[in-house]
């Protein structure tokens, strides 16, 4: 009885090879960006240019994770916008607090 209940009643569809291929490709891109970041950490001089590049590459990675892994791009446009638009305000918070931090730096040292 229990075994019968556990039997799948849903129709199993064949693997979508194209989709799976795209997933592995995205994974490859994410790893490649991380490797590039590693190389940059050891070869480039520390400074604002390097930090800017790190943050840009990180946001690029975040874009891949949200669009390809979380399928945000496939959601309806209003849902997509209601997730993305609030995040734009965070950019302002980053700029404001970076400025605040460097002012504290000037006061202290």
């Amino acid at each position: 009885m229990l075994i019968q209940e556990n039997k799948s009643t849903l129709e199993v569809q064949p693997r979508n090879e194209e989709k799976v291929k795209k997933i592995w490709k995205t994974a490859g891109i994410l790893l490649a960006i991380t490797v590039v970041e590693f190389i940059m950490a050891f070869t480039m001089d520390r400074g604002i240019i390097l930090y800017f590049l790190f943050i840009a590459l990180t946001i690029w990675k975040a874009k891949y994770i949200m669009m390809e892994f979380m399928h945000l791009g496939e959601e309806a446009k209003p849902l997509f916008l209601s997730i993305i638009v609030p995040l734009i305000f965070l950019v302002w918070l980053v700029i404001a607090l970076m400025k605040e931090g460097s002012e504290i730096f000037l006061l202290r040292w």
């Binding site: 569809q13 979508n16 970076m98």
Partner: protein
């Protein structure tokens, strides 16, 4: 598939105001998961931006790498702090261990998205297989983080001589080993405080994620989702798991690269 996915929306138990209809052409659960994640992004953003603000308010260590010593006067260089590997005591391997951790978490995100893909096809065997790999990745990551914390707390063999205000409000000069919330051998107190709070909060999310993954793996294996008619739960838990990966990408950049 389409017949099943529309069945999610018209559950007789839920009216229009109970989330029964599909405002964004997505199910109630998925929309709520997205908005929960949005609020969680704000929490993490507050932590991470605080890190950035405090980071730029301190000078950075500028001398040659071989002469590096921790001090509460300047912020430490990450590759000189995180340079140990388990079982290889004394081996200088900058950022290798955290690289492995990042690789494990990204891999587990990949297997999760493969589980979601299998869920779309109602393929129970594939879902169970990929969920198991994801679960393994999550547990491995937590183990790595436990080691990382352990090493960070106990510190290096030599320690660093620091002058600081101790818990009894006295100014003392002594050799400090490792890190706690009051003082640490690597840099200013804020460095260790932020490390503990941010990686701790992230680790807490991973722990909850592992619990949810196990639940999802178990339910998929015993056929709960087959009976329900759809594998949407895999998708929702997948969203949470990718979010954990997303946050780690930022933690990695801020703590270990900048």
């Amino acid at each position: 598939m389409s017949a099943h996915s529309t069945a999610i929306g018209v559950s007789p138990k839920r009216g229009t105001w109970g989330g029964g209809n599909e405002p964004f052409k997505a199910s109630y659960g998925k929309i709520m998961m997205w908005f929960f994640l949005l609020s969680d992004i704000f929490t993490f953003a507050a932590f991470l931006i605080t890190y950035l603000a405090l980071r730029v308010s301190y000078p950075t260590y500028a001398g040659p790498e071989s002469d590096f010593l921790g001090s509460n006067e300047y912020w430490p260089v990450p590759e000189l702090v995180f340079e140990a590997l388990p079982f290889l005591h004394g081996v200088n391997a900058p950022l290798i261990f955290v690289g492995i951790m990042t690789f494990v978490l990204i891999s587990s995100s990949v297997t999760m998205v493969l589980a979601v893909e299998a869920g779309h096809r109602n393929d129970r065997n594939d879902v169970v297989k990929w969920m198991l790999w994801t679960l393994l990745g999550g547990i491995t990551f937590l183990g790595c983080q436990a080691w990382e914390w352990n090493h960070f707390i106990h510190g290096t063999d030599g320690g660093t001589v620091l002058t600081y205000v101790n818990s009894l409000n006295r100014i003392v000069t002594e050799t400090v080993f490792g890190a706690n919330l009051n003082v640490n051998e690597y840099g200013p107190p804020a460095f260790a405080q932020l490390f503990f709070f941010i990686t701790g909060f992230h680790g807490f999310h991973v722990t909850i994620g592992v619990f949810l993954l196990f639940l999802c793996f178990y339910q998929a294996a015993v056929g709960v989702y087959d009976k329900r008619g759809h594998y949407e739960m895999v998708e929702k838990i997948g969203l949470y798991w990718h979010f954990v990966d997303l946050v780690w990408v930022f933690v990695f950049t801020l703590f270990y690269l900048i």
